[in-house]
Amino acid sequence: MTDRSNLMIRRRIKNIVFTGFCWAVTALALIALATILWTLVGRGIGGINPDIFILATPAAGSHGGLANAIVGSIMMCAMGMVIALVIGILAGTWLAEYGKGTAYGSVVRFLNDVLLSAPSILVGLFVYEMLVAPFHGFSALAGAVALGLLATPVITRTTEDVLSLQPALLRESGVALGAPLSLVIREVLWRAARGGIITGGLLAFARISGETAPLLFTDLNNQFFEFNPTHQIANLPVVIYNFANGADEGLRQLAWVGALLIAVTVLGVTIVARFLTREQGRS
């Protein structure tokens, strides 16, 4: 009897230690992450003023804003997203509709998953070798291609996933009406899967909007306003990187503002994407 109650007590103690550990590390993780957000808001919010959105990035010691970098980031992300949406949706469609069950399909799916988590710095080096070194110059276009390459696997994956979720009945009834499969895919399946594909696009956008490493080798930076994509264009992540590593207090303040802007964008876009998924799930 005592043996048994001893065992009981030991199991209880073990359980208390275990659950205590889980509570403690969760609290620790949440505190660490809250501190990061708190710092970001605390240091960034004081520097926000209209000039941030009007003036170009300053030289050390002078007054300026982040407008050229904000415009540049939007331009490059937009161009990258166009590339990623076209290739990603088509590739995802092929995987879900044509390549299902084929050996080639499994290979593409597997390598797409690897590409999905491949270090972004390597994608930057690749685009450098392809588009920067041969043409002897950094350009926003090269930056956009690098960002597009990073976003494509995300969109491919989500497109394939949502298309696979559509009932076979949808395809069969379309084809039974005499429509070619390609028409059914474009007019019926894409439409049914629209919500999911938009979510994937938003998540991909959230991923590339803060990417810094690939831009260091493809676009770099520009202190002034520039709208020609074959030239270097300023962008938020590289501006943050340069300013944060510099010694000038004013520039560091701008770096915090930039970091806050990026974080708010990423969080906002992710929340919208999650909200859309939930709506989709409900309907």
Partner: protein, 302 residues
């Protein structure tokens, strides 16, 4: 006709993805070849990285990469596990969704934000409250002392590992939670029904049930830590010496490339950096491929 064209387009897009990955490998190999052929196998084993004399050996950055990623994983794994167990077994129902969402959102914060926080907030704190006390407490002549040698400025191998751990934590916690949620309710409930405690249910039933996938999730976290650039570049100190102490400055493959690429003047230097990229590609590809294999095996079982 149009139908075939459309199918062809889709096929071409899928092949483009394949070509991108293949092109990545080819481009890195071609770009890195001058350095690889010049230094041969010594490129991997030599610790001399000297842009002045144009002699490059990558042992320092390679070991730096492996050590920081391994330490980060060691630190993040128990915490990520604890958070995942908390969310699946212990969390009060009304808090489950907010905390789960918070963890997922934090997984998406760009690394440059973590890097800035590491440089301006974490490093001073770490120097004052961890490095200095540990260094002064270390008895002279002990292993402890040699492990804590360095300048206590808050940056270095261990500091970078901790930032990496914080970065991969939300991602690993979210993946592990999703895996644990995929365990059929009947399996969990029958364990509870037999009188098992929470720790026994998690450790003997649900975690073993998703073991393969959990290993995959951990490897995905490792893959992230290996290739992470910006957060590490801010805080590792960027020295090419072979890392011998927890507080010493070091470098990783990614931080070396990010730091030196735009300043590389000689062709050999540039080529050595791209060869470093090739090494990183090989390491991460192996890790990620294994991770995906394990995860897909889990999916087929569940």
């Amino acid at each position: 006709m149009l139908s075939t064209l459309f199918e062809g387009l889709c096929f071409a897009a899928a092949t483009a993805l394949l070509a991108a990955l293949g092109g990545l490998l080819v481009a890195l190999t071609i770009g890195g070849w001058p350095a690889i052929s010049k230094f041969g196998f010594g490129f991997l084993t030599s610790t001399t990285w000297n842009p002045v004399t144009d002699i490059y050996g990558a042992a320092g950055p390679i070991v730096g990469t492996l050590v920081t990623a391994a330490v980060a994983l060691l630190l993040a794994l128990p915490v990520a596990g604890g958070v995942a167990f908390f969310l699946t077994e212990l969390c009060p129902a009304p808090l489950r969704r907010p905390i789960g969402t918070a963890v997922e959102l934090l997984a998406g914060i760009p690394s440059i934000v973590y890097g800035m926080w590491g440089l301006f907030v974490f490093a001073p704190f770490f120097a004052k409250h961890v490095e200095v006390p540990l260094m002064t407490a270390a008895p002279s002549g002990s292993i402890w002392e040699s492990l804590t040698i360095g300048i206590p400025n808050g940056s270095g191998i261990l500091a970078a590992s901790i930032i990496l751990a914080i970065m991969i934590l939300p991602f690993m916690a979210a993946t592990l939670r999703d895996l644990l949620l995929s365990v059929p309710a009947a399996v969990r409930e029958s364990a509870y029904g037999l009188g098992a405690t929470t720790s026994e249910v998690v450790m003997s039933v649900t975690l073993p049930y998703v073991r393969t996938g959990a290993i995959g999730a951990v490897m995905l976290g490792l893959g992230r830590a290996l290739g992470e650039t910006m957060a590490v570049t801010f805080i590792i100190g960027n020295s090419h010496d072979f890392p011998t102490s927890m507080f010493a400055s070091g470098s990783t493959i990614a931080s070396t490339i990010a730091n030196e690429f735009t300043e590389a003047t000689s062709d050999v230097h540039l080529s050595a950096l791209i060869a470093l990229g090739l090494v990183l590609f090989v390491i991460t590809f192996a890790v990620l491929a294994l991770a995906r294999l394990l995860l897909s095996r889990q999916e087929h079982r569940a």
